[in-house]
Symmetry: D2
Subunit: 418 residues, 4 copies
């Protein structure tokens, strides 16, 4: 029955993928479900420190209209002002610690495959939103959270303390985590678990200490120059596109670092207007990465220096805006030790250490909890995949969802059971 519920939720969410900061349908369904189960509900604007929100440029009304059309819960949609994300708070009424879980809920910008072999298409639960797809298993994460909520309600009599279920918006691009961490709702949490499905581990495996989370900064750069007629007075322009091209070229040439892995990318550049107009404006989207915060800082500092110099070369001005950020993750050792026997108890093979090799803004949540004296860990729930993450044919073995719920439940009972 748990398996049925999990499949139901997962497929419904898969059918309706929502971009970062646009998860209005998802947010209302979670709010409604948790509310019915007896959780207190806190919405996006009660959770997020607004000044730290990154990479959010959306048309709220259009997105709400779309969400409503796709089955968002009307009342909850009304209660949401503009920010997505939701937390459910379970009060046992009995003294005890506060445990928390984090599930990320957004989709990625991938056009879902229409190949006959692609399971969601076969089942008719493929993406209804062109260009967007749950190709990173956040639909699975959210389903686990929703069913875990059901289990908590079912176990109400046996629990002490408090439980917070965080459904985080905008994990893709590392845009939401920093604002959620700074929102304050994690400060009283004694222990936090987050998890991810897939990621170099197979069905039946659980990685309890993933490593090599990449630190990253996502940034936009805008160059403002002066347009001019390219034929009549080329000297009158300040070529913002030339500045952007120079900056791009120079960024790619930021030296490697002695201390380890770094990365730089300019993923998109758009500049200029008419063919015969010296470009007065250009904008680029980039990201730095580093194996450590220091390495990522080195990269981003170089980016800033390059942008300043490139603008100066063309007599242009510039603006750099952070659009996302991720830091490293180090699981609390005692929590790792606590998880291992629980996983084995439900027949999951535990793998101690495995390279994560990407960025995760759960890092901000984990850091926050640890800074306030709590414990936190990020787990990888292995799953056989049809194709790699972010691939148009991505799909994961749904059989891993139930053990996922079981593990979290086992931990809850171990900590809060009476």
């Amino acid at each position: 029955m748990t398996q049925d519920a999990l499949r139901h939720w997962r497929r419904d969410l898969h059918r309706h993928p929502e971009a970062a900061w646009c998860e209005f349908r998802t947010t209302t369904l979670i709010a409604q479900h948790l509310s019915e189960l007896g959780f207190s509900i806190m919405l996006g604007d009660q959770l997020l420190a607004s000044t730290l929100i990154m990479g959010r440029e959306i048309d709220v009304e259009a997105q709400k209209a779309r969400a409503l059309h796709q089955g968002a819960h009307p009342e909850w949609l009304t209660r949401i002002d503009a920010l997505t994300g939701v937390m459910g708070l379970w009060e046992s009424g009995r003294p005890g610690p506060t445990l928390a879980f984090r599930f990320d809920i957004d989709a990625v910008e991938v056009e879902e495959s229409q190949e006959a072999s692609h399971l969601p298409g076969q089942g008719g639960w493929h993406s209804a939103n062109p260009g967007w797809m749950h190709a990173c298993a956040h639909d699975g994460h959210t389903a686990i959270g929703l069913v875990l909520a059901e289990r908590i309600a079912a176990l109400a009599d046996r629990l002490t303390g408090r439980i917070k279920l965080f459904f985080q918006p905008a994990e893709e691009g590392c845009r939401g985590g920093k604002a959620l961490a700074a929102g304050g709702q994690l400060d009283d949490v004694d222990a936090l678990l987050a998890l991810h499905i897939g990621i170099h581990a197979s069905s039946g495996e659980l990685v309890v200490n993933p490593t090599e989370f990449l630190c990253s900064t996502k940034f936009d750069v805008e160059f403002m120059g002066q347009a001019a007629h390219a034929g009549l007075e080329p000297n009158a322009g300040h070529n913002a596109l030339a500045a952007a091209c120079m900056a791009t070229t120079a960024m790619l040439g930021i030296p490697r670092h002695r201390d380890g892995m770094t990365r730089i990318n300019v993923g998109q550049l758009n500049g200029g207007s008419g063919r015969n107009v010296i470009p007065g404006h250009a904008r680029l989207m980039g990201e730095t990465r580093g194996a450590t915060p220091a390495l990522n800082d080195y990269m981003f500092n170089q980016v800033q220096q390059i942008v300043e110099g490139a603008a100066l070369m063309q007599g242009a001005t510039y603006h750099i805006r952070k659009q996302g950020e991720a830091i490293g993750i180090e699981n609390s050792p005692a929590l790792i030790e606590e998880i291992v026997p629980l996983a084995e108890g439900i027949s999951l093979d535990t793998i101690h250490t495995r390279r994560f090799g990407a960025s995760e803004d759960a890092g901000f949540l984990i850091e926050r909890v640890q800074q306030h004296g709590g414990e936190a860990a990020y787990l990888i729930l292995g799953a056989n995949l049809a194709a790699p993450h972010h691939h148009p044919e991505f799909d994961f073995d749904e059989a891993v969802l139930a053990p996922g719920v079981a593990l979290l439940e086992a931990w809850l009972l171990a900590r809060l059971g009476r």
Copy 2:
């Protein structure tokens, strides 16, 4: 009465500016008017050599629908397959030479001013098509052509020979002239006149030998590389944006030329997709110019060499497409001499030589006529302006339209009158 008709046509056209290759409304109105006056009508696809059409990427059905909505003549709209532009042929039925006139009919991509001082807005005949404006007086040129047609019909008994009125599409960006010249309808023309309103001359003046028409090539470049995950395997990409940036930088550095004025611009560049994806694709729009064909060729040859090298540096491929082209203009000397007394006869002050300083694809038509043994000239009909050409507040003194028609009529009578 002529003045009234001119104002009527000009303002109607001004109200409904149409982009290059999208002049469906304009084309049908001309066709209907000339047809009613007794001209034989030839449409775009009978005039244009299709393989030489440049810079045409339009949604024909959407544009036709828009035109219809804005008053295009339904029957003519149906007769047009896809190409705009129209020629009216007047057969006097009496032997004699073939004279021709060229009027350009498209608008430019300028958002028309909403300042209170802007005359079209005061009169309610400002652009109904957001982002597009008759800011280069082609509305005036077309009005002159339409009223000249009326005069021809009125003078029917007094004329010999044949008259061709060419209403050319897509002069902006120099996209239509080359195809029109190659279409063959100019090959039997004994003498051709083209004119432009404004351009460094005042109301009451006529420049009979403008000089310094810039040769120009408009081009698009596409770089095709290989996208890759910028974090996971940066080495697997072929960075098309890096190629485009290098190419842009290098193009700006094409050396000046000993023999005279040259220009280069990359007016727009768009490359890449996701922030964390090494860009697999980039596209840029540029133009070269030169005071002579040889100078422009020098510039465009360098562009091609640079693009090839830049693609190679990144292991990318490329495609260069010409999107517009203009060559120089040299008026036939005898024709200049013929025009001067005619102009003075209607009290226009003739200025012999004045710098044009921009590009005009009438050059292809003039060259074609001259190559086939005919004469041709390009005249500047001076006009006081409210603001420079292509400016949002551009407007010209409509009082110059009637003398414009009078001059052309006088020439017709001088050549074809019996």
Copy 3:
């Protein structure tokens, strides 16, 4: 006899070409000759404003030793401290105006031809200094000056006023003129003539109003970064060579100017040290040019902006040093009118206006005289050439030297004769 003396001096100087600021032999021969004729002698350090000397990095002792070996006058060589150049002052002892002449004395860095057809080689008076050659006729200019001095001495009884013969060092690269102008010796000059042999005019012609003197700035840029081991800690470097490459690329891309001809060149770049060391130092040599001072200023301002930005991009510092400078020349109209009949009187065909098309630092001298209320002109003494200026086979028709002297003498007598 004048012709013999001219040929003698010209060929002796041609045999011993000396680089800018190294004209020790030439300076002493002039000083000795003028001194013997009764002129007062002022040497380089009495003529030049030292802070404005440009492009001078020489080994004084080595050059003096070389000059001595090649026949420099030992006593005058001793009197010269370090700066070359000399002025001879003729005091008539009778009241009257002060007239001046300017002759440039340095050679260029060209390896003289060894072709059998090359006249200097045939006569054995080809360059004795490998890599250096009088390939710009300064040997002829100097010879004219020396023989003019003889004529002045011969005419002593017939003259009033004062005469200053300036033998300017370091015209090549436009390095000496600015310092000479600022030295003050021109401030009391009522009229100045300078001349150049050749330059687009033939034997028997005199151009009295050459135009289009190019303004130019010669500059060196030094980038100082931080060297680092390219393998062990590439991140620790500040790559001065990368800055220099970016700057070079960007300088080549300085936009053309609406108002006329501009030029930019980076003629030499040297950067870095060991193969495995991130370059901590780089240096480039460049020049800007412009048809007017404003155009050259535009170019050099852009250079400065680019250098600053490029250094910033790499976290490097920089130093820009002017190494040469030339401004425009406008002959005093009345002086032009005065010269024409004198030229015709000695059977020179006068050409009013012809394009000069290169740079000349006589401009500073002419400007200085004109600013102090005097008149000044730059003349082109036409000459048939064996090959263009600065070519290894350059040679000019020596027959033009005598009319050159005759013209200057005629002017002297017209102004100072009693």
Copy 4:
């Protein structure tokens, strides 16, 4: 006594450092010493495959004259044609395996410190060759080889088989190893040892399995364009310096690689000639590195592609020349196991694995021996250092030389003793 001999040789060599391919003095001293001890001598041109020699541009006669002046052995100097390096062959006359040792003999381009605290200066045995210094302990390696030769001679009665002592030229820049390996003298070697003093290990330590030898390619690139007068006809040039700048910029931007450490550097660039001449020629010196041969190949392939594209962009041609090369090293496991007890027998602390982190062209020798079925190993003989390798104040603890000889001797006896 061994210690005295070691110190004597080491300091004499330190006093006379010789650049790669210039080790004429060193080669003759070794040849003479080994010859006197009874070794057969083979000289550079008998050892090296000439087509694989890299990075050798020397003035042989000048270097030989310098060497003679500094005490080279005259007869051996005569026997040397042009190539440095020497091998001594010891024939025991008794059947047995062939063992070999490799010692590198060249110095580095470092100006030795004149600080009072610098030991070589105190002792008067600091570098006599300005700009060159034994700052990488090759003087110590050579001294060990010379004294080992003495020990072999002393042990003559107790040995079987054959011993080859290779004194390799031009290790710095990885220029000589490839040619030596291909020369064929290693093909019959059953086991080879090479060693290096210092390198992250202290006196008394021996690293038996150093790892992370960097693969590297040293290369020069020459761009040949077309010079032209930058003022008169800038369009006529093909700017080789512009190509070199573009290439340099692009090389710095070669993407990082998923699989591990890579490096790129352009250590020196020289281009152009006169300030007013568009550069017709430019040359750069660079190097790539990679943690594996595949990674280094990736980098060097990109370099080649970039150079080709950059040349094309400017209409220039190019030439790439390899100037040095290093591959990885993997010690033969059984040989490692054999060395450990021998080292412990002479009280050296053995360290199994430690990062080398630089390039070593002994890799070619080791690969050659292993490919022919032999065993080979590279050892690090730890030594306390006064300053890091290649530092002007580099000096090592000479006390480590004697244990070095002792270890090699112990191995010889273990293998060849009877």
